[in-house]
Amino acid sequence: MKTLKNAYENIGLPRLIIGLFFIFLIVTSIALGFSPAALFSDVVRRWLMYGTLVLAMVPGIQSGIGLNFGISLGISAGLFGSVIAMEISFLQNWNETLGAGAAWLTLLLALLFGIVMAAALGTLYGLLLNRVKGSEMTVSTYVGFSVIAFMNIVWLSLAFKNGELSWPLQGQGLRNTASLSGSFGGLLSNPDVVQTTQPRWLHWLAFRVGEFTVPLGLILVFGFLCFIVWVFFRSKLGIAMSGAGENQLFTTSSGINVDRKRIQGTAISTVLGAVGIILYAQTYGFLQLYNAPLMMGFASVASILIGGASVRRAKISHVLIGTLLFQGILVTALPVVNEVIEIGTLPEVLRIIISNGIILYALTKTKGGNQ
């Protein structure tokens, strides 16, 4: 009885409710005749797809800026890095000169540009957040919205030659959704892409076991990122940063510049956001520009809150659990709803209601832990 109670206290009511709902959805969808393997493949894929974006919340929370709604800043940097890399790849004609390596070089270049830009923007963003202490989350929400609006102008005015990116029959502006199929799309996670375009010795990156897809490349990359963040928060710098987030006066009296730690935390969060969107696009197979990333910040925030984080404390386990529950419910709910209700766009409406409902529920749990 006591162990049961302990287990309950460790899990906490919110995760219990959402977890049970998730299980209910899985059981229902299997009962409705969906293939469990396909379903689980989808859950795993979405989990890894959003994982890094959720992971980006951790440095923000730990360094004391709270939930980084302004992750769109990092996302924009990542998207910008990606389109630049793709344009360079197109102009240099890498696909012909480098063959299978072209996609890899484009991916690395996108990451490189994205990270550099995100680090610079994140630092400036950190400076801003230091000036609005106490209302970081409000400000970061609006920074997130503004940067999307600004990037809309940028996307519209870029005159790229790459036909995958630019509007057809027009000189200026990028598409809403650019396919990555000729580039780094699916390189780490899609068996079809890996098995057809990559040399044999790379086929382990993504393969199928029966109907179940194992995106091993993506699992390794995401796992590595989680490990890096985990190690970082056991390092001297990371511990100082956690201290700054927990108690500014304590940390100052231990001789640490709290403002600088907050800027570093914000920058790291932004960089992870950039890496996150590139991995997202890689998995999804498309670059989504314009307003697509507008609400991604909210989904990330909701995920980590559901995972059990608070506005002040977050752990890697919160990222893993939260993303699994949040994305898992979205993935499983849609086919179930589709099956049960067959009227026009109602399933889509229901999907929006469910996802925003989870976000709303998560936001009431900002105290975190087991309340």
């Binding site: 970082f232 001297k236 710098l237 511990i239 201290g243 108690n247 304590f250 009296s253 001789g255 640490i256």
Partner: protein, 533 residues
């Protein structure tokens, strides 16, 4: 004869969670007199006033014992509202004024004068139209009655000098009809000297109109100047009721401090220190700290190596600012010299790097990472400043968990920290154990100078004894120079070699622990007078 008294509080006792803060206290006030209520911090003055006002905090913690008589009639004051109905008013230490309202609005707040309108006839008098003329006329009248002709009743309170705000607050209380008793809670603490004199005049003026005043203060000179009689409290106990004309400053001071001989530190700890004026550990020259509420204004002290140096004084006089300035939490001016080296306090962590560690008086606010483990709390500073408990792996310095764990376990044993393990959250520990964690963090730095601020505030007697004994022990055995800041004079006198009394941000006098009670009392009150007792 009770009838001669307007207010008579009899045998008042009060416990907070088993901790007796008032024991059989009596307080009597005659109509129209100024009665001073004096005592050190924590003597029970505020609790007594909270009882008089029927504050919810009293009733939510189990009420009180004893009775309150007004004009000889027993009363049952169970809420601040009833107290107001009985004609008891209070001038607060922190002003209860709305800055964006005018003087009139503030004075009349909650007691506005309305005129019925069509709407209010239907929906009730909350929709009355304000009768501004009458309201400002009445506000004017009460301002005039305390001699404040130059405060405009239509001015906004925001931006007024502090003294004026205090006068507005008094005018508001006077304006209440039927006011019989007015409590002034340390009204002069925030005022300049001129304003304070003015306030004393106003108090005389009010009492000449037949309104009795209870005057709570630390400043004994003001008591002597203005009060007719006084009640002295010490440690929640009633000491005496004195008529001012029959007593003297020295006598009051002595009664306030009292002879509380209680050996907190075991004497068996051997003493073989040789203190010398030639070896100075820490030195302050014209030291200023800009800490709100605890300003230090030009301080000069020399603390000898190996000494236990006490800093005492009343709250708000600046003794706490001294330590917070050194640790870089507030801006400082002037020189701080540690072992002959001038510290540049604009650099964060300067004191820590020069072997000065600090235990904060604000455990929960400054001293601890409440949400983190005991281990993280204890090792944090040493890790950040001295790179201890770390392993170099590539470019990163990574936590050496085993070492940190071992050290934490040693500390838990050494200081007898009651916890479930090294990973328990600091926030879930009791006050005394939290304090031990703070102390453990400081000594993990292996400091040459240890500054402890209010080390025994809010902790139980067992933990208190352990903490003080441990401080004495590291002083004797490791030669650590200890600067101890405390409001508890007994504590300072039981273990310090010298005690500096801080008053108004400066060292008032440096005393020996065996100086007389009267001398300490006077120094605390900031009174310079030759004592011949």
């Amino acid at each position: 004869m009770d009838n001669q008294y307007l207010l008579s509080m009899k045998n008042i006792s009060k416990e907070y969670y088993g901790n007796r803060v008032l024991k059989d206290v009596n307080l009597q006030v005659r109509p129209g007199e100024i009665h001073a209520l004096v005592g050190e911090n924590g003597a029970g003055k505020s609790t007594l006033m909270n009882i008089l006002f029927g504050m919810p905090v009293i009733f939510s913690t189990g009420g009180f014992e004893g009775e309150i008589l007004l004009n000889g009639e027993p009363t049952n004051i169970d809420s601040p509202h009833t107290a107001m109905d009985y004609g008891i008013g209070m001038v607060h230490q922190e002003f209860m004024l709305i800055p964006e309202f005018t003087v009139t609005e503030n004075i009349k707040l909650g007691r506005e004068i309305g005129e019925p309108t069509a709407l209010s006839k239907i929906f009730g008098n909350l929709l009355d139209k304000m009768n501004w003329n009458q309201m400002s006329a009445e506000a004017r009248k009460s301002l005039d009655s305390i001699g404040m002709m130059n405060i405009e009743d239509y001015a906004k309170v925001a931006g007024m000098p502090i003294g004026y705000k205090q006068f507005v607050e008094i005018a508001r209380e006077i304006d209440k009809t039927g006011i019989k008793l007015l409590v002034f809670d340390e009204p002069t603490a925030v005022l300049t000297e001129g304003e304070a004199d003015r306030l004393l005049d106003i108090m005389r003026l009010i009492s000449s109109k037949g309104i009795a005043i209870i005057f709570i203060t630390h400043r004994l000179t003001e008591v002597m100047a203005v009060a007719d009689s006084m009640t002295i409290l010490r440690d929640g106990e009633f000491v005496a009721r004195e008529e001012v004309k029959d007593t003297s400053l020295a006598k009051i001071a002595e009664m306030m401090i009292g002879r509380k001989i209680e050996k907190l530190v075991d004497e068996s700890i051997l003493e073989d220190r040789a203190l010398s004026d030639d070896r100075i550990a820490l030195e302050f020259h014209d030291y200023h700290v800009d800490m709100p509420g605890e300003r230090v204004r030009g301080m000069d002290i020399q603390i000898r190596e190996g000494e236990i140096f006490g800093l005492g004084g009343l709250a708000g006089q600046g003794k706490i600012g001294i330590a917070n300035g050194i640790m870089g939490l507030y801006e400082t001016r002037g020189d701080v010299i540690a072992f002959g080296k001038r510290l540049d306090l604009t650099k964060l962590g300067e004191a820590l790097r020069n072997d000065i560690a600090f235990v904060s008086e604000d455990r929960r606010g400054v001293g601890l990472l409440l949400g983190e483990s005991i281990e993280r709390n204890i090792t944090f500073s040493a890790m950040q400043i001295k790179d201890e408990f770390l392993r170099q792996i590539g470019p990163l310095k990574i936590l050496d968990k085993a070492k940190a764990d071992q050290h934490t376990r040693d500390m838990i044993k050494l200081l007898d920290i009651r916890c479930t393990g090294t990973s328990q959250e600091a926030g879930s520990l009791s006050g005394g154990n939290q304090q031990k964690v703070c102390l453990a963090r400081a000594i993990t730095m292996k400091p040459k100078i240890l500054i402890v601020s209010e080390p025994t505030r809010g902790i139980d007697i067992g933990a208190k004894k352990l903490v003080l004994e441990y401080l004495t022990k590291i002083n004797r055995e490791q030669g650590t120079t200890i600067v101890m800041i405390s409001s508890e004079l007994v504590e300072l006198r039981s273990m310090c070699d010298r005690i500096a009394i801080v008053s108004e941000g400066k060292v008032f006098s440096v005393m020996k622990p065996d100086d007389s009670d009267a001398a300490f009392g006077l120094a605390m009150a900031g009174v310079r007078e030759e004592v011949s007792a």
